[in-house]
Symmetry: C2
Subunit: 429 residues, 2 copies
């Protein structure tokens, strides 16, 4: 039985209870959302260490951290340090994108220690470590990998089932500047081209759903055709796939498999809100998980910022789940410091959106900070800061008089106004 099975029978689960408590919403309301598919609670029955989170309508915007071992970065300890950092900095999800080496051991280790939801993209694992030509990978091999991930306790899996022959046709008819930039999507497209077969996850979607249902794995419907540059955004290819993802959403719900839908990508700022609306309509209110969107292509080294801009707008227009982007995006696998910058930028975007969404408690956080600022209460400002260590380090790095900071010094506006309102003299002697 999946969370959706229970919800549709009106039964609460411990996971639903935990989520309702964390979000500060009535359990009944949550059960209804899970039953409708408006909220997913990714919770693999084998993920024993999970502290469950809900993703979707009216809930706090969640963030995901990507990490994993690859051919070029085979240091398991490094990647485990990223897991620790992600947990410490409050990420609600970790995607293990390992594509090389002893992926199973690493994945099991993460599932064992991580209370955050665990996601994977089985295609990477299917292809990453195989020493064979792409066209020789069989349908059964693809499914074997999915089953292994399910057994290991993965809570949600990105599966590019919408990259079917029809989407591929649209892609060939509608030229794009960056073609397909989704790793999983590009591999499936190439496999389809080389074998002449239909996408195995699309062709055998029922088999896939049965497998996912068994472990209550949430399917995260991958957007193989997400735009890889602002030029390609909101084009025929992207929307064709989104329509299919909407159909696949309903098919999954018909089997009580929970769904998340993935989205762009790179996209000019003024297209984001329309895309969020489109996804919510075409995918029947399913939770939306976005990578970015990056609002410009020209800032490699700063794509945590380009994506924080897009992510904040996306989430305030309805996206439920943000995949972090680090400053290393487009340039290298992120190092630990990149992971940190990416997480904080993503949490800022999520919180800025939660303020707008009216998520319980969101505005109160800003209010507590502002109250401390007005009182020039620096310790409380540090405590309320999204990164207390960095805030403290900044302030202590420059000499100050204890009350004000070196930005304004003696002409500190807060101090001046506090004195003026108290009827005190304002002197600069």
């Amino acid at each position: 039985m999946t969370q959706m099975d229970y919800a549709r029978r009106g039964q609460a689960t411990p996971q639903m209870e935990a989520v309702a408590r964390k979000e500060g919403i009535p359990l009944k309301v949550l059960i209804d959302k899970v039953a409708r598919g408006a909220v997913a609670i990714p919770a693999n029955i084998n993920h024993k260490s999970l502290d469950p989170e809900g993703v979707g309508e009216g809930l706090r915007t969640k963030i995901n951290v990507n990490l994993g071992i690859s051919r070029d970065c085979l240091n398991y300890d490094n990647e485990l340090e990223k897991v620790d950092l992600a947990l410490k900095l409050g990420a609600e999800a970790i995607m293990d994108l390992s594509s090389y080496g002893n992926t199973r051991e690493f994945r099991r280790k993460v599932a064992e220690i991580s209370p955050a939801m665990l996601g994977t993209v089985p295609m990477y694992d299917a292809i990453g470590f195989l020493e064979k030509d792409l066209e020789n990978i069989t349908v059964d091999e693809f499914f074997k990998v999915v089953e292994a991930h399910a057994e290991d306790g993965v809570d949600f899996m990105t599966i590019h089932a919408g990259m079917n022959r029809k989407t591929a046709e649209r892609f060939k008819k509608n030229p794009r500047l960056m073609n397909i930039v989704s790793r999983g999507g590009s591999l499936l497209f190439a496999w389809m081209e080389l074998t002449g077969n239909e996408n195995p996850f699309y062709e055998h979607y029922d088999r896939l759903l049965d497998l996912l249902h068994k472990y209550d794995v949430t399917i995260s419907l991958g957007d193989a055709c997400r735009p890889g540059c602002i030029n390609d955004a909101t084009d025929a290819v992207q929307i064709e796939e989104l329509i299919t993802l909407g159909e696949l959403t309903r098919a999954a719900w018909d089997k009580n498999v929970q769904v998340i839908v993935e989205g762009p990508g790179h996209m000019a700022l003024d297209e984001i809100a329309a895309n969020m609306k489109l996804q919510k309509k075409l995918c029947h209110g399913a939770p939306f998980y976005v990578l970015g969107p990056l609002v410009t292509d020209i800032a490699p080294g700063y794509d945590h910022i380009t994506s924080a801009i897009g992510g904040a707008i996306a989430a305030s227009a309805g996206a439920d789940f943000l995949c972090y982007v680090t400053p290393a995006e487009h340039l290298r696998l992120p190092a630990l410091e990149d992971v940190k910058e990416g997480i904080i930028a993503s949490r800022i975007a999520a919180h800025a959106a939660d303020v707008v969404k009216g998520v319980p408690g969101a505005r109160e956080w800003d209010r507590r900070m502002s109250d401390a600022r007005q009182k020039l209460d620096w310790e409380t400002q540090f405590k309320e800061a999204i990164d207390p260590e960095k805030a403290r380090a900044y302030r202590t790095s420059s000499a100050h008089d204890g009350q004000t900071c070196t930005m304004c010094g003696k002409i500190c506006a807060v101090q001046t106004i506090n004195k003026a309102l108290a009827g005190e003299r304002v002197s600069f002697k």
Copy 2:
């Protein structure tokens, strides 16, 4: 004669010619915009090194870098290094906010070497170096400082003329969490409270305009009541002042003095577009210069990001000029590395907006980058990056195979698709 005088007579100036050329728009169109006040070309007749820029309707979004000596940071060389960095990184404006020490010598030095427009806030200088009680500063002293700045070649001056007795009354009647966070505004408010007098720049506005006209100084109407936290945004106090700024805009235009209007501040994401519209209406289409807006209060240490989010939205909704915010905001005077982070974040926001505004050439930049990405042409990617040094450093810091990067390695989507579309085998051996 000011730029506006000339424009209203239909006469082109060398400054207008330079701006029209840079922006790629017809000179006649620009002259009309300057005549209407929709574009300002801040160009003090004494700023001989100026390479003029236009700020306003339909033009590229400009950015400003704040710097200056203060009681706590009296190192002139440090501040001059910031000037060099700002120029190197393409800032169109520099505001010298010096408030202590030998401000005149520093200001003249900046005017001498800076082709970027130069702005100041005379209030800081009036008060910063005076060793007297605030209430003892005379109206003539305020004006003496303005005249000194004008003589020195300052192109635009922030003057909080809207913080008059009426605005002060609104402020007292409508409690705010952060009160007044504008330095200049707080000082004028305190001066008014202590002396019982009207704001000297409001009371003697005509005298001020005559002075500014003489040197063609653009008045940047300061928003003393900009919200200092998201709680205070779009409140009665802010809007009261904005109405007054609209009246002052018209009064300045009546004397052919160019105008820029300043805006928020801290503001939840969903209020930004409405505020841009409100300013453009109430201020009759005058150029809008925004500080932020910061979309949340909780991220000291990362306010270049919170303001890049708000700035990108603001500029794409009509703001013309962004004041940079550094990671040091709220914590200390920025160091050189903070200035760099702030400038890049601000330029990203401005460019993301220019893409949306349809500014000539904006989308082409993204296209060139995407084209290089699709070809895995790394040298061109570095060349087109907003920070070529950082992009190159990231890539060269991790071992790669020359074609792909360590993010995806052998499963690089771009490589896979290029091969698949060329009908080549895709092998991971």
